[in-house]
């Protein structure tokens, strides 16, 4: 039985591919985008999170203090709520079941392919009506190639349309395994310049571009949609949009290029995970700036600008 590490299964998603979809978020990512809105998805292993505002305090509770084998939970006299020593926490999860208000919880769990598919299939009537289906997202869903391939193949067998959201920074063998079972590939092209890619994302984009080109050519019947999260000051320049268009336009199976405005979703989760958000001073792009960039894409795809008013998918 193949199992995988899943973060969340989200129903009724409308921005992760065609129609109404159920999105399965897989854990683990090979990039470290500074603007990441799903920081809980980065670590491939299950991970502790703590929301202090839910803690009822050591006067009434304090159960977690006794449970932690690493002494990673402690108190400060000036505050009733517990604190986490993130340097000592090993993510063993022993404190999670004893926390009555669920201030302590764990991101990610090990699940089987059928468990996921059974849950996804519950909404199959919506998929039929809307042309939707299942989307694998993350994290990077292609980092669990066997699990993802089994999920996608299983979905197809159950008559469910499939899509993935990917950054494509994985070994080609992984993609080779996964892509035959995917109807729509939503893939990011975050930055053009390799040096700047490395600065903001942690690695250069050489492999990503090679993978994408190869994928376009190897799977001519698969639908590809390119995407860029627009981060003001990072990649909101016309050059990046034009360079991306030049990269995708020769391939007829890349049917669209979407721009996702940077949003500050998920910043609270950084605190819950004991991490620091590095983009505090970044503002979301203005509607005008987005419209201007989208107009370039509409022109390249030879369509009316009215489509440019599409609402922003999730960040």
């Amino acid at each position: 039985m193949i199992t995988g590490r899943v973060l969340n299964i989200q129903h009724f998603c409308t921005h992760d591919g065609p129609g109404i979809r159920t999105t399965v978020f897989l854990k683990g990512c090979s990039l470290r985008c500074k603007w990441c809105s799903n920081p809980e998805s980065i670590n491939p292993k299950p991970e502790l999170a703590y929301n202090p505002s839910k803690c009822i305090g050591t006067k009434e509770c304090g159960l977690c203090l006794k449970e932690c084998p690493e002494s990673a939970i402690f108190t400060v006299d000036s505050d009733a709520r517990v604190r986490i020593n993130w340097d000592l926490c090993t993510n063993c999860g022993k404190c999670v079941p004893v926390c009555p208000p669920i201030a302590l919880y764990q991101f990610g769990r090990e699940v089987t392919v059928d468990e996921v598919l059974d849950e996804v299939e519950q909404d199959s009537s919506f998929y039929r009506e809307s042309g939707g289906g299942m989307t694998l997202s993350g994290g990077e869903c292609q980092l669990q190639p066997d699990f993802s391939a089994a999920l996608l193949e299983g979905a197809h067998r159950r008559g469910i349309n499939t899509a993935i959201e990917t950054a494509s920074n994985v070994p080609w063998e992984f993609m080779e395994k996964i892509l035959p079972h995917v109807d729509t590939v939503l893939h990011d092209i975050k930055l053009t310049d390799p040096e700047r890619h490395k600065k903001w994302i942690g690695v250069d984009n050489v492999r990503i571009r090679a993978n994408l080109k190869r994928a376009y050519e190897t799977f001519p019947d698969t639908t590809f949609i390119a995407r860029t999260p627009i981060i003001p000051g990072v990649n909101d320049d016309e050059e990046h949009i034009r360079a991306t268009l030049a990269f995708i336009r020769p391939h007829k199976n890349v049917v669209d290029y979407e721009l996702l405005p940077y949003m500050r979703f998920g910043v609270s989760k950084y605190g819950f995970l004991g991490r620091v958000y590095q983009m505090q001073d970044f503002e979301p792009p203005t509607a005008e700036a987005m419209a201007k960039l989208r107009a370039i894409i509409d022109e390249a795809f030879g369509r009316a600008a009215s489509v440019a008013e599409r609402k922003a998918p999730r960040a």
Partner: protein, 381 residues
């Protein structure tokens, strides 16, 4: 134990006045024993990433070591980000490798100058076999296992200096100055500085405040011809649970999201560690007293500058004390100042403990005797 040793010294955490004194203390005390001392650049980076440094990351230290070793604000050898052979970013545990490199570099022990956070990392490294003695640094003086962290006295002197200036300016302008100083969990800096300048009020994390009481006092002062005031607030000070948040302060949902502890109404002060409480208190006092106020945030400024005589002596003593501890065969301990003695506390007992201001301590009594208000709710039985 061999008679001659080679030890290293490094700094985790930010710069604190007196740092050079600790390093000098280590070098001189080690020199007396005939030991040699090397400095590891930027926390443990000098050992983990020697290729980044022209000097190989490990520098010999001699004489009065005034050299700036650099410091790592977040040295965590247990979670080092790197790009693997598959071009994938991952965080790896390099602690074993670090300990191996320490041995390979001929180092018998490492003396680490660390704040409360990095103390946990050294605790784990010691558990894995690193011979280490830690020296506590904290401008907030909130490391529980020692009476006095070096750096605190310099921060205190600077804060007092600034408060005196703010008071003069406040008097000249006929305003109430609200000055925020460091102290997220413990109010030592605000309390002791507040006492030194006889502030009108001091707000500390240990005592949830009610500004009405302070406003009444300030109003009285203004009405009797002293149209200025000085309020010192620690950055972690919080209003008492049932005090309403002033409507005048726009609640920044984004900043609230950054700090999960801020979601509760009364705890919204933790939203923005720096400046939030000064702004909140200044606005609310202005509303309650009908008198002009102005906020000032000392913030990171207290962490710079030259050390005071106390911190020089304490730093040298800590440095020399750490060497003495190694000479006596100790490891996995922190040097602790328990006046009049310099002792050693096991790291396991030093981590996770914060020294807060006791409600009935000497400093509180002094402050109360001087008529300094804490904004306490009056408890009537």
């Amino acid at each position: 134990m061999s008679s001659t040793k080679r030890i290293a010294v490094n700094v985790g955490g930010g710069f604190v006045p007196g740092l050079d004194a600790v390093v000098t203390g280590v070098v001189r005390a080690a020199g007396e024993l005939g030991w040699s001392v090397a400095g590891i650049r930027d926390g443990f980076d000098g050992l983990l990433f020697p290729e980044r440094y022209p000097d190989g990351g490990l520098v010999p230290l001699t004489g009065n070591a005034g050299e700036v070793l650099g410091n790592a604000t977040r040295t965590n050898p247990f979670c080092v980000r790197h790009v693997n052979a598959e071009n994938q970013v991952e965080e790896v545990d390099r602690s074993g490798e670090l300990i191996e490199r320490t041995r390979a570099s001929g180092l018998d022990a490492v003396i680490s100058v660390v704040g409360p956070q990095a103390l946990s990392i050294l605790f784990k490294l010691h558990r894995q076999g690193l011979t280490t003695i830690c020296v506590p640094t904290s401008v907030e003086n909130d490391v529980a296992a020692t009476q006095l962290s070096f750096g605190f006295n310099s921060a205190l002197s600077f804060a007092v200096d600034m408060l005196e200036r703010v008071r003069q300016a406040a008097r000249a302008a006929g305003k109430i100055g609200v000055v925020e100083v460091a102290g997220e969990h413990a109010g030592w800096l605000a309390l002791q500085a507040g006492i030194a300048v006889c502030a009108d009020a001091v707000l500390i994390p240990e005592i949830p405040y009610d500004l009405h009481e302070i406003a009444v006092r300030l109003r009285h002062k203004i009405d009797t011809g002293q149209a200025s005031g000085l309020v010192v607030v620690a950055e972690g000070a919080a209003p008492s649970e049932d005090e309403l948040q002033p409507a005048a302060v726009a609640f920044d949902a984004f900043k609230a999201a950054l700090s999960p502890g801020a979601t509760g109404r009364a705890r919204s002060h933790v939203i923005d560690r720096s400046g939030f409480v000064a702004k909140t208190v200044a606005l609310e006092l202005q509303r309650l007293t009908d008198h002009a106020t102005y906020p000032l945030v000392l913030g990171e400024l207290v962490k710079g500058g030259p050390p005071t005589a106390v911190d020089r002596q304490l730093g040298l003593a800590y440095g020399a004390g750490a060497v003495r501890g190694l000479h006596a065969g100790r490891s996995g301990v922190m040097v602790s100042f328990q006046p009049p003695d310099l002792t050693f506390v096991p790291l396991a007992e030093a981590i996770n403990r914060t020294r807060t201001v006791p409600a009935d301590g000497m400093f509180m009594k002094v402050a109360r005797a001087l008529g300094i208000s804490f904004g306490e709710r009056e408890v009537r039985s």
